[in-house]
Amino acid sequence: MATTDLPRAEAPAGTRVDWHSNATKRRVKRRNWANWRLQFYGLASIGVATLLLCLLFGSLIHTGYVAFFQTKVALKLDLSSDLIDRENLAESNFRKITRNAFKAYFPDVTSPRDTRALMKIMSSGAQYIVRNRVIANPDLVGKTVTMQVPLSDPYDQLYKGVIPLKIDGLGLDRITNFRRLQNRNVVVVENGKSFVKTDVILSEKEVQDGTFNVILNEAFKAFFPRDRSLAYLEILGPDAVDTLKAYVEANPSKIGQTVSLNIPIAPLYDQLQRTGEAKIRNPRFKSDQELAWYGSLKERGLLGTVFAWSLFTNPDSRFPELAGLAGALVGTFLTLMVCFLLSFPLAIGAAIYLEEFAPKNRVSDIIEVNINNLAAVPSVVFGLLGLALFIGTFGLPRSVPLVGGMALSLMTLPTIIVATRAALKSVPPSIREAALGVGASKHQTIMHHVLPLAMPGILTGTIIGLAQALGETAPLLLIGMNAFIPSIQDMGITQPAMALPTQIYTWADSSERGFVSKTSAAILVLLCFLIIMNITAVILRKRFERKW
C-alpha cells in the first residue's frame, strides 16, 4: 500500500538509440561472425569425433571381418571302415580316418616326411571336429560322408588373401645399396645373368693365401667407402669367389695387377636387376612343395570359405583356425552376473539410505564425496585390491569369475549409486506428498511409489555401469582372469575363466597371423555388446521417460 503511494520513478530520458549507425552495423557483423564461429567450432569438433570413430570402426572391420570366415577343405570320410569303434564312438581312430581322407587327394605322396608336411595344410583340430560331428550324428556311421574341416592358419590366411604368397626379399636399405651400383652403370646383364663390373686388385699375397673373398670385399668397398655395415657384401653372388678364382687361374699373368671383372651377384639382386623386384616365398610356408599341394586343392575346387560360427561356439585354442570366443563369452557372462548381483542391491540400498534417510551432516557429506571418489579410482587399483584382499587375505581362488565380479562391482557400485540417487531425486515431491497424505508410511512411500518410479533410471544406470565393467581389462588381468580355457564344459563362478577383454589381450599378444584378425573380430563382438547394452539403456530411458 505504501509503495503504491510513492511517485513513480521516471525513466531517464536518454538519447534515442541509432540502430543504423556504422558502429551498430559493425557490432551486428561481429556478433553474427561470433555466432557463426561458435557453430563452426562445434561442427568441426563433431566432425573430428565422427571421423575418429569411423577410423576406429573402419580399421577394426577392415582387419576383423576376415575372422568371421573360415577356409575349409571338403573331405570324403569313409566312416564304414573298421577304424570306427561302433560300440564306443569316441574311442574310434578319427585321426587316421581324417588323415586318410585328406591323403586320398594326393595319392603320389608316400614318404612319411612328405605326409607330415602335407598334413600341415589341414588344421590339427580336424579330427576332433569330425569326431564331434559323428558322435552327434551316430547314423553317419557306415556311410561315406563329405565334411568340411578347417585349413590350418597360414593356408586359411593365404586363401582369404590376408597374407601374400610371396614377400619382398630385400629390405629398403639393401635395395638402396643396389640402386647405387645401378646408378654407377656397373651392373650388367650377360646371357640372362647379372654381374657387377668391378675393378679387382689381384694382390699377390691374397692370391697365394687363396683368400679371394678378401679381394672381392676390398673391391666392393670401393663402391661404398662410407658404409660400415658391410651389408653391401650380400650383393656378392655365392659363385663370385669361384669366378674370381677361375679368372686368376686362367690369367696368372694378371696377378699383382688391377683388372676389371664381371662379378656375379646374388640371386635376389639378380632378380631385382632383371625383373625390377626381388620376391621370395612367404616364410610362413615351409616349402614350394606344400604350396603346390595347396594350389592343387584350390584348383580342384575343394576349398572354400564359410561363415565361421566357430568364432562364437569354440573355446580358446592355440591354433587360430580353432580359437573361438565361447569361453570368453561364458566367463564374461558369469563375471557380470556376479558383479550385478553384488552391486545392484548394495547400490540401491546405499542410494535409498543416502537419499531418503541420511541426515544432512558432515558424515553423510564425507560419504557422498567418497562415493564419487570411488568412481574415479583407476580400475587397476581395484584389481590390486581384489588381488590383495579377495585372493590374498580371504583366500579365494585365482582367475575365477567370482573374484572378477567382486572386483568389478567395486567399480560399478559408485556408478549405480550415483544413478540411483539421481533417479530417486527426480521423482517429484508431489508423489511423496500424495503417498504420505493418504497415510502411507515412509517405507510404503518408498517401496510403493518412489522406487518403482525411479526404476527405469536405476536400470539405465545399472546397464551403463555394467557396460563399463564389460570392457574393463586391468582388474581382470591382475586377478588372473586371462587363463587359457580350452573347454567350456565345466566353467563356473569358482572355476578359472577368461573374459572378453582379457581374451582380446591374450590374442593380441599371440604371434600367429590368424590372431590379428581374431583380435579385431573379438573387439567388434565386445563393441557390439557394449552398443546393445547402451542402446537398451537409451530405450529404457526413452520408454519410461515421464513428464510430470
Binding site: 508423489i431 500424495a434 503417498a435 497424505g437 493418504v438 497415510g439 510404503q444 518410479l453
Partner: protein, 311 residues
C-alpha cells in the same frame, strides 16, 4: 457483535439448515474468538477447553483445536502462537498473502511438516481431543484420519482404481475385493467423478484432465474415511469450470466432513467457507464467520487485504 444477516444470505442459510439447525451457530465463537481490535500480531482466542466448550456452550462441535502453535524452519520462525478452532461439518478457509503461514499451519494438522527435517512444531493441536503431536500417536493413522488434497493434482501414475484403492489397501480398511471395489466406487461417486470414469477405471489416473485429476485426489483422500480433509489451494492449477465443479464438490462434502481449505482467492473463500481465518506474517490476525469477515473485518490488516490493498 455484527449482525449475522447483514450482507449475505445463501451461505448463512446453508449453514443454518445443514449444520447447525439450532440457529445462531456461530454464536459461541464470538466468545471464543474475540477479534482483536489492536494490531498486535497474535490474535489468540481465549483459551478455554474447547471440547468442553463445544459441548457445553452450544451446538458447534470443534473437530480440532489448536493452541500456541509455533513453527520454526531452522532459524526462521514461520508461525507465531496460532490458536484456532476448527468446527466440524463446515468449511474453514485460511486466507492471507503468500508466505503468511497458512499452508504451514495446514500442514501441521496432519503432521506433513514432519517430513521437512528442519521444521519444528510446538504447541498443542488436538484432533477430537487427542493431541496429534503425542509421541504415542501413530502419524500414519493420523494422516489416514486427516486427508489432504494438494495444490497441484498429484495422482499416482497408476490406474484410477489403484489411486483410490491405495489408501484403504495399506490401512486394511476393507476385508474383501468386492468391498474394496465398493469403497472405490463410493469414494469416486462422492467426489463426483464416478460417472465420468466408470468405463476406464483401469486407465492411468494421469490421463485425466486437471479438474478430474483433482477430484480423483479428493476421492483418494476420502477413501481412507477421514474425519477431516485439508485442502491446500486445491483449485489454483484448475481452470474456472473445473474450479466451479470442485467448489461444488467441497460444498457437498461439507455435509460429512470437516474441511480446511487454504486459498488465495477471496471470492473462493467467500463462496465455499463458513468461517475464515486471516493469516499475516505468521500471525493469525482474525478468525470469524466468513460473512462477517468479508463484510465487517475487525482488523485493519484484514480489511486492507480483503479490499485488495496488499497481498
Amino acid at each position: 457483535m455484527v449482525d449475522d444477516t447483514k450482507g449475505q444470505g445463501v451461505i448463512e442459510a446453508t449453514i443454518d439448515r445443514a449444520d447447525h439447525p439450532k440457529a445462531n451457530p456461530m454464536q459461541p465463537t464470538d466468545n471464543a474468538n474475540p477479534a482483536p481490535s489492536d494490531p498486535p500480531p497474535a490474535a489468540t482466542p481465549v483459551a478455554d477447553d474447547t471440547t468442553a466448550a463445544a459441548t457445553s456452550t452450544g451446538p458447534v462441535t470443534y473437530k480440532l483445536t489448536s493452541r500456541d502453535v509455533n513453527v520454526h524452519y531452522g532459524e526462521k520462525r514461520a508461525l507465531f502462537d496460532v490458536a484456532l478452532d476448527i468446527p466440524d461439518k463446515a468449511v474453514m478457509a485460511l486466507i492471507g498473502p503468500s508466505g503468511c503461514g497458512k499452508s504451514t499451519y495446514l500442514r501441521c494438522l496432519n503432521r506433513m511438516n514432519d517430513v521437512i527435517p528442519i521444521a519444528k512444531v510446538t504447541g498443542e493441536i488436538k484432533l477430537e481431543g487427542q493431541d496429534i503431536y503425542d509421541p504415542s500417536l501413530d502419524v500414519v493413522e493420523l494422516r489416514a484420519r486427516v486427508g489432504m488434497v494438494f495444490q497441484k493434482p498429484n495422482p499416482f501414475p497408476k490406474s484410477i482404481f489403484e489411486n483410490v484403492a491405495y489408501g484403504p489397501r495399506i490401512h486394511g480398511l476393507t476385508a474383501s475385493k468386492s468391498e474394496l471395489e465398493e469403497l472405490v466406487e463410493t469414494s469416486l461417486t462422492r467426489a463426483g467423478l464416478f460417472k465420468e470414469v466408470k468405463d476406464r477405471l483401469h486407465e492411468p489416473g494421469t490421463g485425466l484432465s486437471g479438474g478430474q485429476q483433482q477430484r480423483l485426489c479428493i476421492a483418494r483422500a476420502i477413501a481412507t474415511k477421514p474425519n477431516m480433509i485439508l485442502m491446500d489451494e486445491p483449485c489454483s492449477a484448475l481452470d474456472p469450470i473445473a474450479t466451479a465443479i470442485v467448489e461444488e464438490l467441497i460444498d457437498e462434502l461439507r455435509q460429512q466432513y470437516c474441511i480446511v481449505i487454504v486459498t488465495h482467492s477471496m471470492q473462493q473463500a467467500a463462496r465455499v467457507s463458513q468461517r475464515t481465518a486471516f493469516f499475516h506474517l505468521g500471525y493469525l490476525v482474525e478468525e470469524d464467520e466468513t460473512a462477517k469477515m468479508f463484510s465487517n473485518p475487525q482488523d485493519k490488516r484484514t480489511q486492507d487485504y480483503i479490499t485488495g490493498r496488499f497481498g
